[in-house]
Symmetry: C2
Subunit: 309 residues, 2 copies
Amino acid sequence: MALMFFSEYDDPREWKEHLVALMPDLDVRIWPDLGRLEDIDCALVWKHKPGDLKRYPNLKMIVNLGAGVDYILTDPDLPRGVPIVRLVDPYLTKQMSDYIVLTVLAYHRRFPEFARAQRERRWQYIHPVDPARTRVGVMGLGVLGGDAARRLRELDFQVAGWSRTPKAIDGVASFHGADGLMPFLDRTDILVCLLPRTRDTDDLLDARTLRALPQGARVVNAGRGHLIVDGDLIAALDDGQIAHATLDVFRTEPLPADHPYWRHERVTITPHCASVTLPRTAAPQIIDNLRRLRDGRKLLNRVDPAAGY
Amino acid sequence: MALMFFSEYDDPREWKEHLVALMPDLDVRIWPDLGRLEDIDCALVWKHKPGDLKRYPNLKMIVNLGAGVDYILTDPDLPRGVPIVRLVDPYLTKQMSDYIVLTVLAYHRRFPEFARAQRERRWQYIHPVDPARTRVGVMGLGVLGGDAARRLRELDFQVAGWSRTPKAIDGVASFHGADGLMPFLDRTDILVCLLPRTRDTDDLLDARTLRALPQGARVVNAGRGHLIVDGDLIAALDDGQIAHATLDVFRTEPLPADHPYWRHERVTITPHCASVTLPRTAAPQIIDNLRRLRDGRKLLNRVDPAAGY
């Protein structure tokens, strides 16, 4: 079988090495050196060039090199009927949860306030509080959000989650659907957004929902930039409704140099690096799906384009 | 029994409430309203006024309201022969480990570099690496350091520890004594200092030991300010030998407004808040020691003034 690889963010040789180690007869071709396009059975892609995927007449599976499939699903030239699978990489999940633990602990331990005090050469002692008194709310309780909620629970935070459908996670209060949104926001001191981008989640955090959080709430967005109405967030930061935002994802990436987030003293920017897929831990499931494809068995982690994830 | 309470950092009423809940006949007196000084059997103190402890003729036990006893042991007017115990509070330990997890993850996930890039409005993508490739070294493997080493190990970091005597912690390489120091530093990308202040640890991190770390190493000090020769650390930060230092403790606290640490762009300052003792979790062991004192049994967590901890 032949697999086509495209990503501007990942090392193609490292991917090839890990894939071939598991399936020695796999023919890995790295874009743009693809030879006969008719040979390609499978595409392993991250942020492919628009229209590229329709060039392969015998394409039988598209593997999204990551968890979020919003980019791939908005390609108007996506070949119809070719199944799309996404990666559910245990390492990607852990890495995202590490990022959430880091950013939530930084809020809980008042690091933004200490950074401000340091700029003013001011020793501002703040007595640390018990995590059991800090209410964290995780939006999205899928593979990533579920794991993050569990990790925060282990740190003794008061954790709740909100998702489209009800979920049961030990020790995590569950809210769901439109009716659950406002009560969920009302009890959330630190809001963690890990929702996928879908029609339903676009612009979900706007003036109205941000106002539903307690005054001085803090926000982490490691889902997708489109979840947040940027102007509304900036207004909420300016009037103190939101005390701080840590943002890893943006509507336009790289974030344009003139975007007001860059210079806002209550915004921490990380360059979409909360989590990445590692060849070592993700290669086995790609190979598994290639074998399933060859044997005509059911593919794992298949994306439902109608649901958007 | 009568207990005298003194701390300028903690809420006396909260401590009284938790102590009396466990021993209703305990007579808790809050400094300076102490009544007859002859009544006082026990002192529960944090950074007491110099000379104060010699005022109580019937003092039978001094409880240090925290883990580090360097302040109390340097009091020349410490009453001779009165046993000193320190608090080994499970919550204090967890809180310290949370701080270490937070600061080590922040280094590993390149937050200082992202903060610098943000100041320059620069999108600087850095591909995250596997924690298994980052070597963390914990100096001090007592109650605090041992727990921190275990927590870092759970996050998949490559962890080693250095201590006065050899320690065995699963998955943590152990170095000890003077002979072990240089090999330990040589393999350490992120150095975590959790040593107590003793004659042996004063000035331990100087030009020579900082130079033994790999170039670009990063440092966290949540032990005591006296472990570090400040001028040597600043020189090492300036010439790039040390990439960043996160400091919670200082030789003089509060850190004087004219100290060069405040304005150093490669230094993160937190105001000695890595860990505090909570009445809720620490009160039971104080009451336990009061009962032991009353019954003539062996006290727990007794300090050895000769060793300094």
